[in-house]
Structures are given as C-alpha cells and as structure tokens.
C-alpha cells in the first residue's frame, strides 16, 4: 500500500510543476505592472517604479524569477506578496482553514442531504416523492448561488435571525459559534452539489437496485433500510465519489462568490483579490496550494475507492474480467 501511495504521489509532481509553470507564465504575461499598484497614482515616476521593481525583484528575467520562486516554494516559502507585503505562505495558511472548513461542511451537507434523497428517490423511482426530488434538484441546479446566498441571508438571518448574516467565527471561538457562522455559506456553496449528487446517486442506485444481489438480500428477509444503506449504497457510490472529488475544483471557484457575499476571510477571496490587484506571488502561491489540495483530494478519493471496493484492493478484478 505504502508503495502504491508513493508511486501515485510521484506522478503528481509533474502535474503540480505544470500547474505552477502555467500560472507563472499566464500571470506574468498579463498586462499591468505590480509596481504601479504598489505605488498608487500619486507617487509613480520612472524612478519610483524602478525602485519598487528592484525591491520586489521584478527586474530579474522571468525564468530566473520562476526558478528562484520554485526553489523557495520547495522549502515552503512562497515569497512575499507585492501588494499586502505579507508572507504568502502565512497568508494562505491563515485563510486555508476557512475555505477548507467551508468546503468540508458544504460537502458533508450536500452528502447528508443527497444520500437519503438519492437513495429514497431511487427506491421509490417514479413516485411522487421522486418527482418532487427531481423538480427540486433541477431547481437548485438552475439557481445561481449568489441569489441563493442572498435569499438565505434574507430569510434565515434577517427574518428569523437563526444564523449570522456575514462573518466568520474561527474555531477558537467555540465549535458552536464556528459552525453557525459556517452554516449559511456552506449551504449556499452546496446547492449545486446537492442536486448533482442526488441525481448521480439516484441513477446508480436504480441500477444497483436492479441487481441480483439486492434481490438476494431481499430474499433473505432483511429490512428495507438495511438493504438500501448496507447493501446497495456502497456499490452505488463510485461515481458519486469521483464527482465529489472533482467538485472540489469547482467548489473553489464557487467559494469566491460565497466568501464575497458572506464576507469570509477565505482563500477564494484572497485569490480573487490577488488577481485583481496583480499580486502575482500571492496568486501563484494560492494556485499552487489549490492544485496541491485538488490533487491530494483526488488521491484520497482513489484510496477511498480501494476502501469501498475490495476488488480494486487486490487488483483481482482484471484477471477474471
């Protein structure tokens, strides 16, 4: 197993290298000079620009800068932001918990809603319940999350005052506080996923429920819930798992919107602001960290497969194809 993990991790390196190089090129080709933004309109002059560029190291040629950055990045040092003068690593580490928690809570929420919905609408496929679920999920798919987020704020915090409208309570403020502040944004973030996961699970579940082993389980006289959740769910959850892993990438983009509306100090907003202020090193650092997380998450998904499906574990699936 350790060897498998090692091998897999090795293949990730080129992917990460490519991502970082791509970001570097892309950002450096962007029009605009960070020096100008650092200085602000009042103080720009040829000399001051040159001074700032020298201070930021922007006067070195691109490949040199990239390699220097890469070398530092390997030691965990992602440089210092041009604009906010923060250590990029520190800035990201400050924000990462927020975004991670947001994504985890939103995935958990989405799964917690989608699994029972998907399972029961598959079990009662064609019923009124199923139709209602179908309608709702498509509705969620079509609802832009910024509108959904505002509706949530309007109803759940302004009208009924159940959750704070904006802001983040770190875990240090207590778990309850933390979770209440994370709930609305996570919910807003999970709309699409609730729908996608439910649809996906429903389809796979219908297929699984047609399989003989389910009939066999029934013919053993097991209760329905047991058949659904202990027998049918696991073999039906592979595409769900894959998509959940891939959604991590999509979620990151969605966090930009959610973090803006709910005023959360997350990585999405950091990235967005950094792009908008041409904070190249910050963007570069964030992209790298995001890529690493994405790759890691999908790596974990791969491992989960082997957990969920013993056939993959032994590699025996291929011999008796």
């Amino acid at each position: 197993m350790a060897r498998l993990i090692g091998q897999k991790l090795l293949t990730l390196i080129p992917v990460l290298l490519a991502v970082s190089l791509l970001t570097y090129l892309l950002l450096n080709l962007l029009p605009g000079d960070p020096a100008l933004l650092v200085l602000g309109p009042q103080s720009v002059s040829a000399e001051s620009i040159a001074a700032v560029r020298a201070e930021l190291g922007l006067d070195r040629p691109l490949p040199v800068r990239y390699l220097a950055w890469l070398g530092d990045a390997l030691t965990g040092d992602l440089g210092q932001s041009y604009i906010t003068r923060q250590e990029v690593t520190g800035a990201i580490l400050d924000r990462l918990p927020v975004t991670l928690e947001l994504m985890v809570v939103s995935l958990v929420l989405a799964l917690a809603l989608a699994i029972p919905l998907g399972v029961f609408s598959a079990y009662r496929a064609g019923s009124r319940f199923d139709k209602a679920v179908t309608g709702t999920t498509f509705g969620l798919l079509a609802l832009p999350n910024f509108i959904f987020a505002l509706l949530l704020i309007f109803f759940l915090s302004v009208r009924f005052d159940l959750f704070p409208a904006t802001g983040w309570q770190p875990l240090s403020e207590g778990l309850g506080e933390n979770l209440t502040s994370a709930f609305l944004p996570a919910l807003a973030l999970s709309v699409t996923n609730i729908a996608v996961f439910t649809r996906l699970l429903r389809t796979d579940m219908i297929t699984t429920l047609q399989e003989d082993h389910v009939t066999l389980a029934r013919s053993k006289g097991l209760p329905t819930w047991r058949i659904l959740f202990r027998h049918a769910l696991r073999p039906s959850s592979f595409s769900l798992l894959t998509v959940a892993g891939l959604q991590v990438g999509t979620l990151l983009s969605a966090t930009v919107i959610v973090e803006t509306i709910f005023a959360l100090p997350g990585v999405g907003r950091l990235l967005f602001d950094a792009i908008n202020s041409r904070d190249l090193l910050m963007v570069q650092g964030v992209v790298l960290v995001l890529a690493v997380s994405f790759v890691l998450v999908n790596f974990v998904v791969d491992l989960l497969y082997t957990f969920l499906d013993p056939r993959i574990r032994s590699g025996a699936a291929r011999v008796r194809a």
Partner: protein
Amino acid sequence: MSTTAELPVPPATPDPVAPLLEVRDLHTWFDTPRGMVRAVDGVSFTLRRGASIGIVGESGSGKTVLSRSIMNLLPRKAAVPASGEVLFEGRDLRPLSSKQMRSYWGPQMAMVFQDPMTSLNGVVKIGRQITESLRQHLDLSRQDADAEAVRLLTSVGIPAPERRLREYPHQLSGGMRQRVTIAIALACGPKLLMADEPTTALDVTVQAQILDLLARQQAERSMGMVLVTHDLGVVANRTDDIAVMYAGQIVEKASTKALFRTMRHPYTEALMRCIPRVENPSHTRLDAIPGRPPDLAALPSGCRFAPRCRYAQPECLTENPPLFSDEPGHEYRCFFPVGTAAGAEALERNERAGSTAAGTTMDLLTKASA
C-alpha cells in the same frame, strides 16, 4: 436490533395436510409500452414437502418471472396485480406485503440465482452475507452466527471456511461463489428452495458438482426444491417432476421418468431432439425448431406453439389447448399429443399436405432450418 419487532405477521401455523407449495392458475403480467407482457400466464403446479420439480424452458419463456412471483420478489409496481394463488403450506402469499414476506424469506423459502458473481454483493464480506440473515431471523449472537456460517460452508463443501468468511466474493472462484449463495439460501433452514438457473454461468464440470450438491442438500434437509433451467439434460435425473414451460405456460408436466419415457407435447419432443448428444456420431444433423417463440406481448390465439409445430391442425390456431392428462400426474397442453393416434394422424396429414395448418412447410420442420 430485535428482529421480532419487524415481523408483524408470523407465519401461520402450517397446515399439515396442505402441500408445501401449490401454485394455482398464476398469472404475472407486465404493463409495458409495448403492450401487456404475459410473462406467466396461468401456471399451476404442486410441490410436496421434500420433493423437487424442474422447470424447463427456453429463454424468455417466463421461468424467472414465475420463480420470483412465487417468492413474491417481483417489484410490485411493475407487475399487474394478477390473478392466481401461491399457497405456501396452505396460505396464499400473494396478498402479503413485503414487510410480511420478510418472515417467510429466509426461514421458510430461499432462493439461489443464476449468476453467483452478480448475486453476491461484491463489497460485503462472505461472512456477513451469510450471517446477516441468521442474525435477522434466528436472533443469533455474532459468535453463534459465525459458527453456524462455518458449519454451512463446510456442508456445501468449501474448504477452509473460517478463512473464506473474511474474504470477498471476488476472491472466490465461480463454483465456490455459487456454493456460498447456496449456503446463504440454506442458512435459515428453509422449507422451500428456489434455484433459478443456478448453474448456467458455470463450467460444465462445476455445474455437475453444484447440481449434485443441490440434490444432496435437498434430500438431506428434505426441502422442497424448484429447479429452474433451460436445459432438459440438467434436470433429467435430479428432480422428481419436470414442468416444461413455453411462452408463459406450462405445456407439459410429469414425473421425470414419465416425461422422458412418453413425452406428449410436440414442443418437449422438439426440444429434446435439438440437443446434440455425445452418443451421436459427428456431423449428425440436428432437428432444430424453426422460428422463435411468440412475443409475450402479442400472443397468437390458439396454441402458442402452433406456428412451429409439426402437428399443427386448424383447431390449434383458434383454441389454446387446455391441460390434458392421460395418466395421473402427466399433463400436457396439446390436442394432438405425440405418441398418440391423434398425433400420428395429424403428423401424417401435415406431411401429406407438405405444410402445417399454420402454413409452415413440413420440409422445414422435419429437416430443420438452414
């Protein structure tokens, strides 16, 4: 969890005089966009305690639907609420909800499926698949259930059963998997075992092993067994009775010996003749049955086999033959049974005409298709 709470209707006390299983005029139809598919269309038979019956028929003749109807395992939504009764120890199972059926499934009746790979759950360990019904129905502790599972695996001839309990289905060979499904079916000591083509997915040598195992277990535990297959050869010496199905109906039913001795229905005869035999020399021309079974959604009036039958007479086309019987226990649906004067006469008439009443040329029927 306590299982008793989930058994709202304990099985009625068995009626000692009633046969183990009595199927009376069972119909299972499916309402599909294509039309009403009459998958099982008036099937009746009786199975005594400890006896076995083989149900034989081509693909699509309704064998699986019949066996699942008996088990009450068909999805309720698909099947049209159909007429007929399935009396298990005198009690009709058909009206029971699946909640009520749960007390039958396992301890009273159990099932073995065609493909052991798909009928075992690939992600659940063998042990749990066996013990869960034990724990559900017999309220055994985990240890007791495990011990019982080991005993069961031993009885179906699996070496090193303790180790196997901790393995997954894919780690077993096909034959072993099928033995496991048999062990699962036998777990709660059912009175009735339904085996739906239990060997079709297996190798010839393993097939023989499994069939022997089934026959042995059935005899040892004196269970009733319904053995479904498409191969007459498979059931030839393993069941007491045989019922031949064609297009949703039983066209001939007799004790195994009687059936092979004096087959009455032309379909049974044709089926028998199209099987290649090892005894015959190479390149023996086979008597194939031309044509195909009718569409169950658009059945012809009259005898369902008539278009492919050598004996077909005009009345075969208009009237579906009822069950005839010329010796006790031997029933068939044919106006012109094989081996009778009527049959011989019909055959001769058709041969003279060169074609049957259904319009099929005799040439084709006797010489088999090309």
